[in-house]
Amino acid sequence: MTQYWRSLEELNNPVEFKKNEVKLEIDAKRAVAKKASGSSRRDFLKVLGFSVATAAVVASCKRPVNKAIPFLVKPEEVTPGMANYYASSYFQGNEYCSILVKVRDGRPIKIEGNDLSSVSQRGTSARVQASVLDLYDDARFKTPLKRGDETSWAEADEYIQVKLDQLKKDNKKVVLLTSTIISPTTKKVIQEFQQFYPNVEWLQYDAVSAKGILKASELSFGKAFVPDYRFDKAKVIVSFGADFLGTWLSSVEYTKAYSAGRKLMDKGDEMNRHYQFETGMSLTGSNADVRFPIKPSEEKTILTALYYQLMQAKDFITIAAPASPVDITGLAEDLLDNEGSSLVVSGSNDADTQVLVNAINNLLGNYGKTILTESALNTHAGNDENFEQFLAELKDKKVAAVLCWGANPVYNHPKGSELKTLIEAAELSVSFSDRKDETTAACHWVLPEPHYLEAWNDAEPKSGVYSLAQPTISKLFDSRQGQETLMKWAGVEAPNYYEYLKKNWSDEFYQLQTKYADPRLFWNDVLQKGVFEPEVKSGEALSYTENGLEKAVQISEASTDGWEVALYQSVALKDGASGNNPWLQELPDPIAKISWDNFAAVPVKWAEENGVQNESVITLNGMELPVFVQPGQAAGTISVALGYGREVAGKVGDNVGKNMYAHVQVKDGAKQFWFSGAKVETTEKTFELALSQTHHSMEGRPIVRETNFNEWQLDPTSGNELQEEHEEHAVTLYPEQEFKGHHWGMAVDLSSCVGCGNCAISCQAENNVQVIGKEQVRNRRIMHWIRVDRYFSNEPENPKVFHQPVMCQHCDNAPCENVCPVSATPHSDEGLNQMAYNRCVGTKYCVNNCPYKVRRFNWFKYVGNDEFDYASNSDLGRMVLNPDVTVRSRGVVEKCSFCVQRIQEKKAEAKVAGRMLEDGEIQPACVQSCPANALVFGDLNDPNSKISKHFKNERNYHLLEELHTLPSVGYLTKVRNKKA
């Protein structure tokens, strides 16, 4: 039988590992109160006794008096205690998502995916889910600031307008530095601002740009754009270092499309095949059918070889293909078999590499089929070339003033510290940032913007796809939209961006449709739906030319000495802009399962040879980094995540991990996210990492079941043979449960799940799951109700990876239920394993008796406790709490409830309306926004429901079936599509 392992220690010495693990767990449990509060158990009891006595005295003296304050005039659409959903658009860090914002009594508390968008298709990412917490960030600016001191808008406007007029008169250059702007109306505002101040130059800058693709498409198609990749149309997907399921370009869209091409339910369903060439183990690589660990410098060589092989196969050339470091003949054949339905992408920012990719795609006839050139992805407009020029001009004092809007180059540009002094020394520097960041700290003036959930905006993420963003709460602080600030300076007396936006929509976009005869009706419709996708697509397909190819196929000899280091964006923090978001900081990395730090991922073999282990410290060009021995890391390479090491982010994000942006190199006018010739030295030091990969162990029992596509085609039960065997042996002493009305169940398609962690954050937002900090994560106390387990199999140099979301299995014969001495966790009439917090006395018997390790104990009071100074330690941060879910106190056990509050809400709706519930009407938080459609929830009592079909599927199995716990969660076997 295949061995599945979670860490190298487990692989190499399972017996010792298990012993050690038990010991570690006990040690962690012993360290309960000691570390966090510095007091002993005895003190704890004293305090407990005293507080009980005090509480009793106080409670008997006075009864709390609550106020009930009604509306003066109740808005028609608001019902106190019921949530409203408003469509809006998320666009941050080059990531676009159409969303629905759940607003409860005037407060946005949850983000949901919007079905109507063709881009995000109801999916979200963990970053999108967590963005609602950014709204209630303590690091946000409360007022405008002048050199760090509070000031007024009037004072700021007066000073800056005079200054700008002066600069205009002197004809000195002013640079408006923004991140990519995809809002057509904002672009118009900027244009008008530039007309008013002709000395203003607008520059878009991104932390991680797509300059390579932009340059390559300019060469190949005569237009700098990011084409529209259609992963759903591709049967063979080849990715060179592009983490398109995690962070690359439009990852939610690609995840939707990718998993749609891998959905196997009925006989005859097809499945795409995915090849991944990459250095470190990325989220995308972990899902690949065939993965080649390569050095970053080898990427172009392989592409060239592939190009020549394809050319040869098509008899266009006869010269021998250059040697490739890995064997790609099978790949070339596969591509040739799927001409017009294959897709080659590269994450490289090198124009030559991208030109090669274009040439290969053209050769395979993919343009117009799996890659559309008539439609462009607008989310990556950052221009590294112009930025370098700006930097030089700023140095030469040619640029007198900098207006910084959404970009944070002091943090995420290699020359950040130099830029910092230059911005400080400029005649005028203004930041529109809504919260603390490194660049803002260097600016003279801070004119804070509202958070995107407080603001009006629009977006055009892809050409011809428009969407609106609307405020869902009135401004929390004294902020003003950047657009209004620019309009004000451009001479508009009382700028109102909302009116401006509305007018622009009726001028520009109203004419693109015929459904509504009145611009107001059109506006209301778009505002309600959130998106506007007119039938007529703008633009035509562009034709390919071979420009630049000649240069691109030249193979330059890569230097072979030293290490090659790949810098990647982590799935949780991406470029690091949300560094102060504790939900994202605590989301374990999908592969390494490390939270609260970045680390150097080193190859297994080298680590073994040099005695380096996890948590050892190495120096990389002099910088100390903790080590994670990464199975699948290419030999001679190290991968480190960007987005960490923020210095001015706030109480949560400051000094977490190391900032790797300093190692980014700018080559040929584009940032390169790898470098060679690095010096690596081992040290004696160690650094503690919050590694949760081996927590919640299921003791090595066969949890993951897998098969290959061709075997599945022959026999859909392949890989799932154990199911039948276990069912045969199923004997129980328990009486059979009867579910009279509903019987809720969930299915997880392991083939669809890519392991992105969106469900964990979505659940965290919905169910008030608390952040506990690095130390407590190390103590195995992470509170996430749904965790994504990651297993490896095969050889550690290039393992197979499995992602498996595990939440409470809601067993019908639940082992946790019968050990509770106070009946705090009984079974419901609808098959839910219930948890009554007010009954729980904290014996933790249930935690110990749960074979799936899904129960979480509140070791501390995590809300309003200075020891846990994250989101829930301020009134502002607590505004995100869901009022429909109890905030658990110390000493009780909690776990996944299948979002019972949502079940109850929808049931109430149906009851009041006197109708039956529809299948799919109830969607727990994790299911609603899953970008891979991997989760299905529904009523098992309804034979026609989607969930019943999943449970009847041959691939369906349950975790630890042999225990006969009868879980209400089913898993569909993982199917890979390796060539037979």
Binding site: K67, P80, G81, M835, T886, V900, A913
Partner: protein, 381 residues
């Protein structure tokens, strides 16, 4: 072991209660000490005003004292007249002349009738204003708490200690059964007191707090026959029944500006709230614990329960009070007895087998508990 144990226990209890009592004393003395004179009135003025207000000044009068209509403390029957605090707050920022004008030249039927023939000397009226200003500033002195239960508890404690002492050391009473009965009786009574109080802890049956506006459900519902849902509009769709928005009050009170009982003073508060945009801060009566989730929609919108079933005879309440104890037992028992309208609500078609059983006569009705209404996670999540 048991005797010693009881003595120790007793001593501990006495300690706790002595501590409580002392803290009460400290608290109340503190409050008195903090009543500082402000607003430019001298201490004497305020004191004199207070005595005048309370009718304690020794001179002949033809009319009753202020306090006889405008009460200082909360009373358990509805006093329609504005309380001293109400008046104090309203006139705290206004000058003496406007205060005098209202007292001496009343407007509105009710006030005219009671303030008729007022001939108050201006100095006295000034001291009353001084007193009221001070009141607005420092608040009403707290009512002396009744310590009946505590005294009874302590008395029982003394009794049982004595009985115990007699039983072991003193032997004054020949018949041993007597101190024994006294001991058991006193101890039993104390246990009963503790248990009943512990059960009541956090429950608020008959809770009828003072409200910022003397709104009478008896007048609105009982006398004028307004339907509950006219004001509590969200009861059929929302989790909460909803406290009516102030502008809803104005539907009627745009015209009705004077009440038969309350005169103009109370309705004026509503009008003012509507005009100033400062909503009325009602005191919430029905407080469920935070871990309890209740939906009116399910009970009223779908279950078609009568409001009275939980809220009692609201149409007879001048002062709104909590009628039921809203304990878990209250909910659970009702779920056990209440039959679900199984046939007419489409939602229940999910319960296929139960419908069959009903048809075949295996069961004659379905209660809420039968379809899982008493599951933990119906209310606790």
């Amino acid at each position: 072991m048991s005797r010693n144990f009881y003595v120790k226990l007793r001593l501990k209890q006495v300690h706790v209660f002595v501590f409580t009592f002392l803290s009460f004393l400290i608290l109340t003395t503190n409050l008195f000490a903090e009543s500082v004179v402000t607003d430019g009135h001298s201490n004497e003025e305020v004191k004199r005003g207070e005595r005048f207000f309370k009718g304690l000044l020794p001179f002949k009068r033809d009319y009753s004292s202020c306090v006889s209509c405008h009460n200082l403390q909360l009373t358990d029957t509805l006093n329609w007249n504005p309380s001293a605090m109400d008046i104090a707050l309203k006139y705290a920022d206004k000058d003496f002349e406007s205060f005098k004008a209202v007292v001496m030249n009343p407007v509105g039927v009710k006030m005219e009738a009671s303030h008729v023939n007022f001939t108050l000397p201006e100095e006295d009226l000034k001291t009353v204003k001084a007193y009221l200003d001070n009141l607005a500033h420092s608040g009403v002195p707290p009512a002396k708490p009744t310590h009946f239960n505590l005294i009874l508890f302590l008395f029982l404690g003394v009794l049982l200690t004595w009985a115990l002492a007699d039983l072991i050391f003193l032997h004054k009473i020949k018949l041993k059964i007597i101190p024994m009965i006294i001991f058991l009786g006193a101890f039993g009574w104390q246990v009963k007191m503790i248990i009943t109080d512990a059960i009541k802890l956090g429950r608020q049956e008959n809770y009828a707090p003072d409200q910022p506006v003397k709104f009478s459900h008896k007048v609105h519902v009982g006398e004028n026959g307004i339907d509950c849902m006219y004001c509590h509009t969200t009861v059929e769709q929302g989790k909460s029944a909803g406290i009516p928005a102030t502008n809803l009050c104005m539907n009627c009170h745009i015209i009705i500006r004077e009440g038969t009982n309350s005169g103009k003073f109370e309705i004026a508060k509503v009008v003012e709230a509507n005009e100033t945009g400062k909503p009325i801060e009602w005191t919430r009566i029905h407080n469920l614990p935070d871990h309890v989730f209740f939906s009116h929609a399910v009970h009223v919108g779908s279950g078609k329960l009568d409001c009275k079933q939980c809220h009692g005879p609201v149409e007879e309440m001048d002062i709104m009070e909590q009628y039921s104890d809203l304990s878990m037992g209250f909910c659970v028992n009702c779920h056990r007895d209440t039959k679900v309208d199984f046939g007419n609500n489409g939602y229940y078609e999910h319960f296929v087998k139960m419908h069959e059983d009903l048809k075949s006569g295996a069961i004659d009705s379905v209660t809420a508990a039968d379809i899982g209404a008493n599951d933990c996670m119906r209310c606790h999540y």
